[in-house]
Symmetry: C2
Subunit: 140 residues, 2 copies
């Protein structure tokens, strides 16, 4: 799933996304970014970069928002407090695994070779960037 | 940006994403879904559907998580409380627009024809689904 985002279109999007990630690392974030000057500057840079490369404004906005919202969702999910002992007390892992065999097998397979949640972020971001490249190619 | 996700691969992903959206509408959500039985069931359904269509488990997991995390980020952003009068008191819209011309123009252009945030969700989801189709095609 890696190594396919080095194209000219993907790089600014990925850089913007990684800046968002770096900014949020280590700090629990709310998601109300409407008045965030940093987020606005990132959006402006990303959208204007795409527009400068010939991508129509509407598509540029949709692409940038997709990356930003995926990033916010990913960071919030990873930063969410893990279940405490009280919450786990009645949790039946065996029954859960039996009801969700694909999801549980996928977690084991994914993290088995030493991948971390940062790898997961990048792998998922590759999906978004691949889609952005399709949309940008169709629109420009 | 619309009308391209009716393919066999995209539909289950879109349905899963829309179920997540519908589930969260009208309720402020936290993002800690590790123990959420509903989220686990959605993930299992989406991943097993993709695997049944020949997409390798690892790619299926990455695709489904991308959709889920984008959806969580989108919903949280849209549900975030809007800035109150106090926060807006010192906000200089003209200066903001001058510093972020592309982002501000993009908002005006996007919402001008009567689009809503639900259209924005679907347009962004199209980006993710287009990328998922690329990744699934490359992997299967």
């Amino acid at each position: 799933m890696r190594g396919h985002s080095g194209d000219a279109m993907g790089r600014p999007v990925q850089q913007a996304a990684e800046r968002v990630l770096v900014r949020h690392l280590g700090a629990r974030v709310g998601s109300a970014s409407q008045l965030s000057v940093t987020m606005a500057a990132i959006s402006e840079l990303a959208m204007s970069t795409l527009v400068a490369r010939g991508i129509p404004l509407l598509e540029a906005r949709v692409i940038v928002l997709t990356v930003e919202r995926f990033t916010v969702g990913h960071v919030l999910e990873e930063q969410a407090p893990r279940p405490d002992a009280e919450a786990l007390k009645d949790f039946d892992m065996a029954a859960f695994a039996e009801r969700h065999p694909t999801a549980v097998a996928a977690i084991a397979e994914y993290f088995g070779p030493g991948r971390t949640v940062d790898d997961l972020f990048r792998d998922c971001l590759e999906v978004v960037i691949a889609g952005a490249a399709v949309k940008a190619g169709a629109a420009s």
